[in-house]
Amino acid sequence: MDFLRPANWEEALAAKAEHPAAVPIAGGTDVMVEINFDHRRPGHLMDLNRIAELGEWEVGEDSVRLGASVPYARIMERLRAELPGLALASHTVASPQIRNRGGVGGNLGTASPAGDAHPALLAAGAEVEAESVRGTRRIPIDAFYTGVKRNALAPDELIRAVHIKKAAGPQQFSKVGTRNAMVIAVCAFGLALHPDTRTVRTGIGSAAPTPVRALAAEEFLTAALEEGGFWDNGKIITPSLAKRFADLCAGACNPIDDVRGTAEYRRHAVGVMARRTLTWTWESYRDARRPTEGAA
């Protein structure tokens, strides 16, 4: 095994072009498990820790450009206002030790359906900045997950950053597991309200071969909120509306039975999480409107 140690991004791209099978390692929280257990013996391991820019982020007008290696601990602490859904999801990742090392780039590279960042990225809206010596491209998050632990990256590409839309409204993340720490999701759900476009977006984790959005549920809720004038009148979401949304979210799942849970349980739990996160986010939206009403 060769250990590649690029000192900067250009060197990393060149190394990846020369050795397309090289495995990039940043936090190591996925890669080292596979090596420790002899599940993987890559010919080349490529350390990305020397590339400082991967650990940085920029807050733009509409989006945050998040370096691939920004650790979850930093997202929780520093980006809670801009990326509330991802900050909540980051807080559910494993333990402090893991959150100090792992980041979103690794979650995307591994592309496990159970990765905690995925539902939050899907709900917020994001693009993956992938680069090779051939050039840079932005892959919409919806098109990034192509199969179980498969993604849209070409063999010579590396993930440089993720561009995530800044929150224009409340976001929530919910995850089912056997305890609060050190738990891989039985299933997970992310929801983002986008009052600026009067839309809602969702993300489902661990309940299909890839992370997915509940598109029919999004369309239903977006239309129902518009027709009922909810964005303007701030009315309470009716139980029947919430139930229909929850049912459509459960229907978007394509889960399996495994050691962590049954397909039936996952479908049910996703419905429950969808209803709860809708209630939480909508209450936040209404709360945020109240001071203006009082002042008027």
Partner: protein, 169 residues
């Protein structure tokens, strides 16, 4: 490959390091520092917790080469670290860091396998937050598993260390 790093304040060198081995393996098998424990090798248990450039990490998940040129503190260096932090004493004077003494006094050690990781994690938390709530302690130690005692004595120990710290003992 050859590896150069600083461990517990001293420059160290390891030779014939295999590219795929972990920092934990280097510490235990090449540098003679068996305090960090090897249990799950997948970041679940926290027994191998060390500080890498000050940050608590699972050393089983750090590739050896990633530690090149960096600073590592293991449980063996906690007493020195505590002394430097308080700005007193010469190296080798104090036998134990306050958090280590608190674990002994509170009876928080049974088989001892999880203890080094807990000590490193607890010490780092108290450095950041000298007056933690119970929730803060549980959060900071949530990545460290103990399979003997349950966690009450461990909670007592960390509370004791915090209380002694605030009294300046």
């Amino acid at each position: 490959m050859r590896l150069n790093l600083t461990v517990n304040g001293r420059p160290r060198e390891a030779d014939d390091v295999w590219e795929g081995e972990s920092l934990l393996y280097v510490l235990r098998e090449r540098l003679g520092l068996p305090g960090s424990k090897n249990a799950c090798e997948q970041g679940e248990c926290g027994s191998c917790t060390v500080r890498l450039d000050g940050v608590p990490v699972c050393s089983c998940l750090v590739a050896a080469g990633q530690a090149e040129g960096r600073e590592v503190v293991t449980v063996e260096g906690l007493a020195d670290l505590a002394r430097r932090r308080s700005g007193g004493g010469s190296p080798g004077e104090a036998e134990l860091a306050p958090v280590q003494q608190a674990f002994i006094d509170a009876g928080a050690v049974q088989c001892g396998f999880c203890t080094p990781g807990l000590l490193v994690a607890a010490d780092e938390m108290l450095e950041r937050d000298p007056d933690p709530s119970d929730a803060d302690i549980r959060e900071a130690l949530s990545g460290n598993l103990c399979r003997c005692t349950g966690y009450e004595k461990i909670m007592d120990a960390v509370r004791l260390a915090a209380a002694r710290g605030s009294e300046g003992v």
